[in-house]
Every structure is written in structure tokens, then in C-alpha cells.
């Protein structure tokens, strides 16, 4: 029997739409709110809410350490968590190409459901659109997320000279895992994406004097630090020898000419914390699996630039990375 694939009728609003929602969506996202299948879902949030959205287009959809479904939950959960909010509810909108494997689509939905359970969030509404072959390539997912604000962590003015900078995980794994998965340059390796929800880890540190936090996705740690520098007028001095980085990841980056600081992460956040609380935050981070490799990498300065003390004792500027990372010639 040939493989079952997505057909235009799944997005058509009729019988097939209904059975797709029942057999795949509700089966995995099972909760009382989504089960109602209303045009909108009723949710309860606290006095102050945080709201975010993100679209996911990663290729290939399946990679070492996750897939686009898992990523679509982690990405939005993390945007809330690093903004100081407890994630509560997510939406989940699929755009899928006609002809896409139904099995794979279900795996994607199932991974999203599993990750939502791990994070303790409910997926309460969603949508599925099927587009004609060639309209999109594979699957695109958009998720929105709502959470209760515990502590606002997006205010640049809170960043003060002398504050410490922590990265919560070893860096550059997601970008390099995707690069290997694409097999584009003929390299092999076992680098798993760091794709993970950070909300439980973050909830352990809200009690401390955290000034600012942001997850270091596209553009990596370099982009986050430069963005904060630009908006806050403060700068950073960071130490290369303290940046957590796995050796295989470091070597692959080096071979291709990538700066690990500019490579994407999906489970690493940059935290700016008062000097007094830095060690306490580090201890708290080390207690969770996603934060076990966290390190203090540097501190905030008055000079609105990002400076790196290199491993060999030199100094250099870390600039905003270019739009697309390209391997070098030799």
C-alpha cells in the first residue's frame, strides 16, 4: 500500500478536515479547552500577560534532537520564559503541502504535544491549511503563546555596568546540527540540536536580581549581546575561555569558518544578572538539565560594544553576524 499523504481536502473544511482534526490533532493535543472546537477558546490568564508569536520553517523538518513540531513549541515557550512569563497556552497553526506524508505530519504533531506536556502548557487552538504542491515546501508552523508575567525581563534600562552575563547552555549546537542534517558539505557527526523548553529552568531563577534575558536563537549569542548593547547603550566584555562549547561543535565551526558566537541555538538563553546574585543564579541553573552547562561568560561595561578576550590573551570586537552564514574557501 502506498504511503498516506496530505490531500487538499484535509484543509477543505469538510469530512476529511474533521477526521484529520479528530485523528491527529485532538488525539495528541488532548485537553478540555481544545476539545470544544469552538471558533475561539476561552482561557484564563493572570493580571499581567505576555503574548508572543513565531513561525517555523526549518529544513529538514526532522533533525538530530528534534523536529519542526517540537521546535515550534520550544521556540514560543522560550520567548515567554525569557521574557519572565510563565507560559500557559499556545496556538498551533499548520501550513502543509499537498502530498506531504501523513505519518510524518502526525509525528510532528505528536512531538509538539509531548513537548507541550513537558513544558506544562496547553495547546488550545489551531488551524490547518493545505496548499497545492509547490505552494510551500513541506510544513510550516506558526505558534502563538500567552503566559502570566512573573517578572518583566525585557527592559534594557535595567542593564547596569558591572552586571554579569550568563549563557545557560553550551552554544552553537542547533545551527551545526541542522547543517549536518542537510548533509550539504559532506560532513558527518553526532551533534544534537539543543532544542528544549527553558521555562522550568527559568522559573528557578526569577526570584533573583535578573536584569534582562533573551534566548540566543538566530544570530546566536553575538546577535543578542549586540542587540542589548545597541538598545541599552551598555557594552559587554566576555571571555572566550569561559564560553561553554562542545569540542566537536567547536571543530566543525572552525572547519567551516563559522564563529560559534554567531551560530543559532534553540535551548540557550543569555541572562544578565546583578553581580551579587550571579553565582546563586548559576547554581540554580545547574540544577536543571537544560542549564547544567551554564557559565558566567562576562560582564556589562560602559562601552557600547561587545569585546571578546580571546583564549590566547588578545582582544577583539564581536559584531552583529551577517544574515546568512557561508562556509569559507580554505
Amino acid at each position: 500500500m502506498s504511503e498516506k499523504v496530505v490531500t487538499l481536502s484535509i484543509g477543505g473544511g469538510g469530512k476529511q478536515t474533521s477526521s484529520f482534526i479528530k485523528d491527529i490533532i485532538l488525539k495528541h493535543f488532548d485537553n478540555e479547552i481544545i476539545d470544544n472546537l469552538g471558533d475561539a477558546s476561552y482561557i484564563k490568564t493572570g493580571v499581567s500577560s505576555a503574548f508572543t508569536t513565531d513561525s517555523f520553517v526549518v529544513r529538514p523538518e526532522f533533525f538530530n534532537g528534534g523536529n519542526i513540531g517540537k521546535l515550534s513549541v520550544c521556540g514560543t515557550v522560550n520567548d515567554l520564559a525569557v521574557s519572565g512569563a510563565k507560559p500557559l497556552y499556545l496556538s498551533f497553526a499548520l501550513v502543509v503541502a499537498e502530498g506531504y506524508s501523513l505519518d510524518k505530519l502526525e509525528q510532528i504533531v505528536e512531538s509538539a504535544a509531548i513537548e507541550a506536556k513537558i513544558a506544562g502548557v496547553k495547546i488550545v487552538c489551531g488551524d490547518t491549511k493545505v496548499v497545492e504542491r509547490g505552494g510551500v515546501d513541506g510544513v510550516i508552523i506558526n505558534t502563538c503563546g500567552v503566559g502570566d508575567v512573573v517578572k518583566k525581563l525585557n527592559h534594557y534600562v535595567n542593564v547596569k555596568t558591572g552586571d554579569k552575563v550568563i549563557v545557560t547552555s553550551d552554544i552553537a549546537r542547533h545551527g551545526m546540527a541542522i547543517m549536518l542534517e542537510r548533509g550539504q558539505f559532506g560532513f558527518n557527526g553526532d551533534i544534537k540540536s539543543d532544542c528544549a523548553c527553558l521555562n522550568h529552568m527559568m522559573s528557578n531563577i526569577y526570584e533573583y536580581n535578573i536584569k534582562f534575558s533573551r534566548d540566543a536563537t538566530r544570530g546566536g549569542v553575538a546577535a543578542v549581546l549586540n542587540e542589548i548593547a545597541e538598545k541599552s547603550g551598555k557594552g559587554f566584555i566576555i571571555d572566550e575561555e569561559n564560553i561553554p562549547l562542545r569540542q566537536d561543535v567547536a571543530e566543525l565551526c572552525e572547519t567551516l569558518g563559522y564563529d560559534p558566537l554567531s551560530v543559532a541555538n534553540e535551548g540557550a538563553a543569555v541572562i544578565i544578572v546583578s553581580e551579587e546574585d550571579a553565582e546563586k543564579v548559576l547554581d540554580a541553573l545547574h540544577k536543571s538539565d537544560t542549564g547544567k552547562n551554564a557559565k558566567i561568560i562576562g560582564s556589562v561595561t560602559d562601552d557600547a560594544r561587545v569585546i571578546l578576550n580571546t583564549i590566547s590573551g588578545g582582544k577583539r570586537v564581536v559584531d552583529l553576524p551577517p544574515g546568512e552564514l557561508l562556509p569559507r574557501i580554505c
Binding site: 559532506g186 588578545g314 562556509p327 580554505c330
Partner: protein
């Protein structure tokens, strides 16, 4: 363990940095040219300049293969695309602007088939997978890269692959060295010689440097190796005794690689080539020999690089020959940025202007 790690050791690097400070005479200015683009970037990335005294100056030379590609040569990339050819390239070339201001990246966004590869031989896989398309590899590189381009041509002929060709604008270093050495206004004291090029050519490439009473030290690309080479150069200058020293023996044999040179001479012949900013240099390019003519994109598509001068104000030529620092070019950081480059120097991963812009050199 990564074999490079000992060569990044902070303690050793600081010792060498202090040794350089002691060796460099206060009343003398030492001007050292790093010839290789990989050195330019490695120096910037490791923050090496911050470890040198102010009277030891490093200037960049014509050692970024992308940067010395002339505008007329670059424009042929786009002519190929307009002919419906699928082009295959190293990542470095994707942001290089053509005369029309567009890059291969822009062309790709408009639907052109542009593939990025790490090895030229990957072009064979692409050609086999899509026999209905014609793939042209954009052959840019010096002695280091050229053997892999030659290997692609030899392999394609061996496998009788018909939908593949190479646009060879590979170049060789000797004539560029001659040009630099003949320019007395540069006041150079020595050269940090390109490790990877030497791995092919051997250290005899630097005989003319020694003959003109300047130091030539072959160096690796790690901070300790580069500092060690700089220390050696300063020592030679102080003594006034010059000889080529190979400080990169862990990778580079003194005699280079005969096998690689054989591959080069099998496929290529020396032709006259136009270098961006340097002009036409006799027998400084690698053309594809008649025996492999069917793989020569110039012949196959009847292409001739036009004699196009660089955009007015672009001082790539002076930057590439170490005459000026990028910041002395009126376009640098203003009209010419990585987002909207005027010259390839600003966007090649080994470009001097790219290094100065990305790492804000001279500002720390």
C-alpha cells in the same frame, strides 16, 4: 584533542608577546605584511594586534583570492547565470557584487540556481543528479585551492561527465610577490608567509623576498604560531640577516607537494591574468589546457572577461597591496558595507576590509 589547541595557549602567547616587545627596538618601526587572507582573518579573530607593541605594524597583502578577482571576471558569473547555467561556488563568492550591484545571493533569491559547496568535487554529484542542467564551478583560488579545482576537471573527464565545466580564474602568487617587492614605497621589513600556499609550492617561493633583504617566515594560523613568526621576523630584521624560516612544519614540508604541483601542471597552464587593483600580471593565472578544453567554461560559453575598472573611489587595489588601511578609503563603512558592498574585499570571508569592518580593527 584538537591539534590546534596548544597553539592557542594563553601563557605561551603572552610570553611571546613580551618577547616581541623586548626584541622590537623602540626607535624602529617594523612593517610586516601578512600575505594570506586566512592570516588576515586569524589575526583579527584572535585579537593579535592587541598583543603587539605599537611599533610593530601588520599590513595585509593580496592574499585573498576572492578579493583579487577582477570586476570583469566577476561579471562573467552573472553572464553564466543569464545563459541559464547552474553555478556552483564556494560560500565566499555569494555576496560579491557584480557591476550591476547584484550578488549571487540576490540572483538566487530571484530564482537562479546557485549551489554552495565545500569541495569543488561536489559539483560532480550535482551534475550527476541533474543531467538536464549544466553546472559551472566558479574556480577562484590560489595554489592551495587550485589543485582541488584541477582534480574536479580530471575526475569529470575520467567519468566523461558532459554537463559540467569550470570557470577558472585561479591565480598564483609569484608575480604578485614581485609586484609588492618592487614597490619601495611600502617600506616592508618582512612577510608572514601563507602556510597553505607553501604546502603546495614549497619555501623556494620566497627566495625573491630573501634576495631583496626582507624576512620571510612561513606561519600557521594559530595565535602562538603567528606570534612566533613575528618574533622571528623582528629578530632577522634586527640582525640584518635574512633567510626563509618554515615555522609551520607540522603541516608544511619545505619542498611543498610535488603531487599537487603535478596535478596543477596536468590541467592548467600559466596565463596572463587581471588582478583587482593590481592590473594585468603576466603568467599569474591558471588557464585550462587544450586537452581539457571541453571543461573550460570560457570556451564552452564563449566568454571573455571585460576590461572593467573598479567603481570610482574604491581603493581595493591600495588595500590589497598594503598601501593603505581600509579606513583610509572614502567608501569604507559609508558607501561600502557588508550589506551593500562596493568591492569583494568587504564581503569575502578573508577580505581585509571585511576583517577591519567586522572586528572594528584599529578601534580597540
Amino acid at each position: 584533542m584538537n591539534p590546534n589547541i596548544p597553539f592557542r595557549d594563553k601563557e605561551t602567547a603572552l610570553k611571546l608577546s613580551n618577547a616581541i616587545k623586548n626584541e622590537a627596538k623602540e626607535d624602529k618601526h617594523y612593517k610586516i605584511m601578512e600575505v594570506c587572507g586566512t592570516h588576515t582573518m586569524a589575526i583579527a579573530r584572535s585579537g593579535l594586534r592587541s598583543m603587539l607593541p605599537s611599533n610593530v605594524e601588520l599590513v595585509s597583502g593580496p592574499g585573498c583570492p576572492v578579493c583579487v578577482t577582477s570586476q570583469g571576471e566577476i561579471d562573467l558569473f552573472f553572464e553564466l547565470i543569464d545563459k541559464g547555467v547552474s553555478v556552483v561556488s564556494f560560500g565566499d563568492l555569494l555576496r560579491i557584487p557584480g557591476s550591476n550591484g547584484q550578488s549571487l545571493m540576490d540572483k538566487r533569491a530571484h530564482g537562479a540556481d546557485v549551489s554552495v559547496v565545500y569541495s569543488p568535487l561536489d559539483t560532480i554529484k550535482l551534475a550527476k543528479a541533474s543531467p538536464d542542467k549544466h553546472y559551472t564551478f566558479l574556480g577562484i583560488g590560489f595554489e592551495t585551492t587550485a589543485p582541488t579545482v584541477a582534480a574536479l576537471i580530471m575526475q569529470a573527464k575520467k567519468e566523461n561527465i558532459e554537463n559540467l565545466s569550470v570557470l577558472s580564474f585561479c591565480k598564483t602568487m609569484p608575480k604578485a610577490f614581485e609586484l609588492i617587492l618592487s614597490d619601495t614605497s611600502l617600506h616592508l621589513d618582512g612577510f608572514l608567509c601563507p602556510g597553505h600556499v607553501t604546502a603546495i609550492t614549497g619555501i623556494s617561493l620566497y627566495d625573491p623576498i630573501i634576495a631583496s633583504k626582507k624576512a620571510a617566515v612561513v606561519a600557521g594560523f594559530e595565535p602562538v604560531e603567528m606570534l612566533d613568526a613575528i618574533y622571528e621576523i623582528i629578530g632577522q630584521v634586527n640582525k640584518g640577516e635574512f633567510h626563509t624560516v618554515n615555522k609551520y612544519r607540522r603541516v608544511v614540508p619545505d619542498e611543498g607537494s610535488q603531487a599537487a604541483r603535478d596535478i596543477l601542471s596536468t590541467v592548467f597552464y600559466d596565463n596572463d591574468a587581471t588582478w583587482r587593483g593590481l592590473g594585468k600580471l603576466e603568467k599569474s593565472g591558471l588557464g585550462i589546457k587544450e586537452e581539457y578544453a571541453e571543461y573550460d567554461a570560457l570556451k564552452r560559453f564563449n566568454l571573455v572577461p571585460k576590461d572593467i575598472t573598479e567603481i570610482k573611489g574604491c581603493k581595493c587595489g591600495q588595500v590589497l597591496t598594503g598601501k593603505i588601511k581600509p579606513s583610509a578609503c572614502g567608501l569604507f563603512g559609508k558607501k561600502c558595507t557588508p550589506e551593500e558592498p562596493v568591492g569583494p574585499c568587504m564581503v569575502s570571508s578573508e577580505g581585509t576590509c571585511a576583517a577591519y569592518y567586522k572586528y572594528k580593527l584599529g578601534e580597540i
